[in-house]
Symmetry: C2
Subunit: 303 residues, 2 copies
Amino acid sequence: MAPLDDSAVLSIGSSEIAFTTDSYTVNPIFFPGGDIGRLAVCGTVNDLSMVGARPLYLSLGLIIEEGFLFEDMERIVESIRNTANEAGVQIVTGDTKVVERGNADGVFINTSGIGLISSGVKISGSGAKEGDCIVVSGYIGVHGMSVVSARENFGFKTQIESDVAPLNHLVQAMLEVTNEVHALRDGTRGGIATVLNEIACQSGVGIEIEEEKIPISEPVRVGCELLGYDPLYVANEGVLVGCIGEEDCERVVEAMRMSPYGENSSIIGRVTSKNRGRVILKTQIGSHRILDLLSGEQLPRIC
Amino acid sequence: MAPLDDSAVLSIGSSEIAFTTDSYTVNPIFFPGGDIGRLAVCGTVNDLSMVGARPLYLSLGLIIEEGFLFEDMERIVESIRNTANEAGVQIVTGDTKVVERGNADGVFINTSGIGLISSGVKISGSGAKEGDCIVVSGYIGVHGMSVVSARENFGFKTQIESDVAPLNHLVQAMLEVTNEVHALRDGTRGGIATVLNEIACQSGVGIEIEEEKIPISEPVRVGCELLGYDPLYVANEGVLVGCIGEEDCERVVEAMRMSPYGENSSIIGRVTSKNRGRVILKTQIGSHRILDLLSGEQLPRIC
């Protein structure tokens, strides 16, 4: 089966809405640059944004282990509130379950969300078209490396702060330039290599990206080298990739760079008619390699 | 703070929708008459139904403990599918997380749901009006006693089967008779005594119910006596209480009895202008007692 989009797109009354759900089990629940609460709001806001919806309403389901510290819970709830305000979404319904000690890992959070899709907006993993440029909205691999470093306590001198952020304002800025935003995906589990593969597969196109154009920060590059990870497959929580109509591409990237959520946006490649269903990386030494789908799970419980 | 309704009621485009979420952590996950999957669909369908919405779309979030048996998961997913078909709702979006052994209790399920509210329908815990009759849709306390018996393995000779069921068709049958359905609540945690208290408090009315009119099955009555529970406070997953305009009451109850989900529907009391905010039980010997809100949790993890 082809991968699905990040949200379901549904009709309700005369409106088109997006609906999505995600459970968050990240370990540790506090990590540099974020926490499970911020992650739970951003993840669902971003899934709605990736089909072009304006996120409006979120639900919040908490499963709390008996004995979980009240002050930690308070910190998480405050983080949820702040992030919801930042994204401009309302948390309208919630549920809390407490399970006996030993029956959950501190706290698990589920957020579901509803967004409204404006008429004329049609964004899907199956929407990429030949000639589209591929954009990425920032430095890749930061969230995954942040969580892994915090969990394993490697003692890197440079602390890597997660980029976890709501991307809805960034997507709205892109859509103010043009409706020719054909495909969007946030590069969560499996990183940008995986989501580009999903787009190539769903859209039946080839994708070519150039290694030297991909924004990677020095700490992530070094951390990945030390640990044997490929940053193209490491999770992001504040970075999207998009396929944009050729003619509007430069203007879209300019608008993205104006947003605090996309200052390091770059064009990293293009959609091709050859190599359908595949993602090809042009390396810095000029050779080509196929970026396969990730098998197994490189980074467990980073979200 | 006054208790809220079972679902949030929201505007989206030109439509009025309901949105709700619930996590399910029931232990044991299979119990006589149901399982965590059926519970997760029914609970959310019912929360939508209690504000008069027609449930349309459900999300499904699974948190699975490593090592959980595949055949159990298959049984649960099949139960989810069958119950969604029974209720006539579509599961449109989902998410699965696996956590390490020991970090969850088998499986936790979150379902969120969206329903559409027809114009003219206005049902809320704050909507009860003086003179309304109080209806209950079936035998009470069955789900809670079923789960507790299964968990503690009391070896009762009569197995009590949970009544867990989707109540949306029943509510639609009520609304086909009249829009004078003022308040609805399914009697989940805390039983019908608790939800009647919520309605009395939210609506600022008194509620009087008559003990002898409350449908209680013999096995539940005996089980409760043995264990020291009050069936009025034991959880239900297939029973609602409603406040119906006096003039339409008989016809509504007739319609409810025609539904397979409300065969044992009964009028058990009425809404009064005295004793505002309180629920008064007229006992079989003619005395009156106040049914308080339950403090603490009589039955942990029955949902």
